[in-house]
Amino acid sequence: MESSTCFHCGDPSGSSVIFFDDKSFCCQGCKTVYEIFSDNDLTCYYDMQAAPGTTPKDIQGKYDFLTQPNIIEKLVEFDDGTSQIATLYIPQIHCSSCIWILENLNKLNHNISLSQVDFGKKTVRLQFNSQNYSLKEAVILLSSIGYEPYISLEDFSTGKNHVNRSLIYKLGIAGFAFGNVMFLSFPEYFEVGEFWLDQYKHFFRWLMFAFSLPVVFYSSQDYFISAYKGLRAKILNIDVPIALGIIVLFLRSTVDIIFDYGSGFFDSLTGLLFFLLLGKFFQQKTYSFLSFERDYKSYFPIAITKVAKNGEEQPIQVYDIKKGDRLLIRNEELIPVDGILIKGKAKIDYSFVSGESDAVSKNSGDKLFAGGKQTSGSIEMEALKSVEQSYLTQLWSNDVFNKVKEDGFTTLTNLISKRFTIIVLSIAFISTTFWLFADPSKALNVFTSVLIIACPCAIALAAPFTLGNMLRIFGRHKFYLKNATVIEQLAAINTIIFDKTGTITSNKKSTATYEGASLSPSEAILLKNTLRGSNHPLSRTLYELLDENDIITLDEFEEHLGQGIEGVHQHDSIKIGSANFVGKTNDLAVLNTSVHISSNNTYKGKYTFYNSYRKGLSQLFNKLKIQYDLAILSGDNEGELENLKKLLPARTKLLFNQKPDDKLEYIKYHQSEGAKVLMIGDGLNDAGALAQSNVGIALSENVNVFSPACDAILDADKLNNLSDFMKLSKSAIKIVKWSFVLSLMYNVIGVSFAVTGHLEPVIAAILMPLSSISVVAFTTIATNWASRKLR
């Protein structure tokens, strides 16, 4: 039976397989979803993709807060009293079946009049009749079919976000004008002095002038603004020569057509803007399903249940929690504030915060920290602080989160544009001075021609296309960058710092070694079968690690929360759990997690768990150590010190017991000594370090789930490719430099026409697109060739 998979979700059905309608299901939840779909003629959900579903989670009472008007008001984007529209984020959306079922929601409930999926953003937009139906019911319906929306504190504070489409408008206008101006200027390229052309050329020229107006005054806005900002900060960025070129192109062309000197350069002007904006558009590749700006708000719930003095439960908005409030935390709910456990057994999973996957047991009176997730039953706690003042959330008050990283970084393009601008201006002035003496009538013509032809269109395109293409190549290999500048920063890195838990260790697999008296075959069978009944994470892990055994039915099985489990079969009994639970009192304080075993009340031994490191880690470190300083910062104790020493190159620095603030300070210190730091982490506790570092990479087992604010997100399976990614970012910089050389060659040719006073509009119109296109072709081919080995 082990081999059969669930018809709904595709997970192995395992021992608890359920048969229904000739199909096997892994659990009751999956079967229920199938029933819902088959009752409503929606089974073609399963035709499009095999096993597309997700197991629905228990959400009893979790969405009670959705009855509160002030919360609904924040989540709903349109409300006219009879119908409401809300957009919900559903991380589970992953295939065409998901789109199909979510867009057929009205078959499940006729009150939903419209549901539209945005696959890229993983959202569904719902319109429903608000008189007969509520947002809460819609959310519960979605949850019941395995598409539980994710509603976080962030939804509450951000409100409606505005889509910025101005770049598409600008590009569209430039393209429109470019095409039309090309048509109108084409006749004059070849037919000089032809009768009909002479008749109409003035009309044509003024039409071109009209088309170029929106391009100059709307499409090129950003370049003027950026050039102005640059000049004010005394930086000659690449936009300064571009803005200068645009102004000169426009003025010279206008003067040309007014005084009938020629047809002007409107074709080059509109073409220039079109190509430049195209480069910008290409570079602006965004991963709409990822967010690089997350802080604790996207992890935290929007509301939680408060227990009033008279015992009444009511949902309360998280920001409204005050010191002394009694809160009810249900199973699988996140603790929003620091507090003290009052009632119930807490088993807190801090993996959001630290990356540590083992849940920690707490008893009443113990302190609980915000960010942990309760994993067994519900508990009651008393709040000690408000949300913003809690231990974890305080990290975000650090200045580092208010800085924009790119500000302090000079890109390669801006570096070269400084020299370039000075050289172009001096060529323009020298040649003008020469012509003032040789032939004063040509002087102004030469001055403007130099500025026009030297307009660094190709240089401005080199970096966007190289880095933009590299960004896409990285994206295809599951390394998602926030923007193209990150590649330039990656190439400058000389120090790499890793977080330990969850980054170089894997969350899922761990290894265990057994110490103590060996177990007899019957004891081994009993051990395995007792573990089988328990849902505790350690039991599950140990169960997976142990050899296959016969399945027997236990006569007695009992789980003692927070202590261990007990199983009885015929005359044998076994106890598995903490040292105290199995009756061993003189256990030395050990740093590693261990599970103790006693059989028939005699102590047998213990399984000690070790982190299991990701495959290929040593090779990766050995590859990286040649060029980079390496360090590991861990929030954990030193239990793994010996293991790590064996595994990693000798020069790797290992630091343990590092608090979130310590990690940040450590990086700051190294940066002050000139190090360019790459930080690789995963949990919220690394958020400060990721923000402080030059490049912060968040490692993620599942990129659709959450990662702290960072510059890049790397799929955990691809960690081994890190050295390749680093190498590629260096080759990208090399390619950019070569395309600078290429475009400078075109500029030299163009300037030689300009200084001699022979620049005809047709030459500019040929040279400008030719240089741009050849640079784009070169960068595209070169980046693809450089990354051919990447797997």
């Binding site: 003629d41 789109i99 945005d118 889509v163 489409r165 408008y169 109409y200």
Partner: protein, 61 residues
């Protein structure tokens, strides 16, 4: 008055109509999601196909 002015103004009117259509499309969010519509357009057939399936569903527990 030459016919070329009529032709030119006609061609520009046509061009502007298409340009306006482009602006209108962007404004309505046509370029916001470039993936989902490509999948959505393939759904119609499946809806018709499923009708006969109804009879197969018999047992409920």
């Amino acid at each position: 008055m030459s016919v070329i002015y009529i032709l030119l103004s006609l061609s520009i009117i046509v061009a502007v109509i298409f340009f306006a259509a482009f602006i209108w499309a962007v404004k309505n969010g046509q370029y916001d999601d470039s993936y989902t519509p490509s999948v959505r357009m393939l759904f119609e057939d499946e809806l018709i196909k499923e009708k006969p399936k109804q009879s197969k569903l018999t047992n409920q527990d």
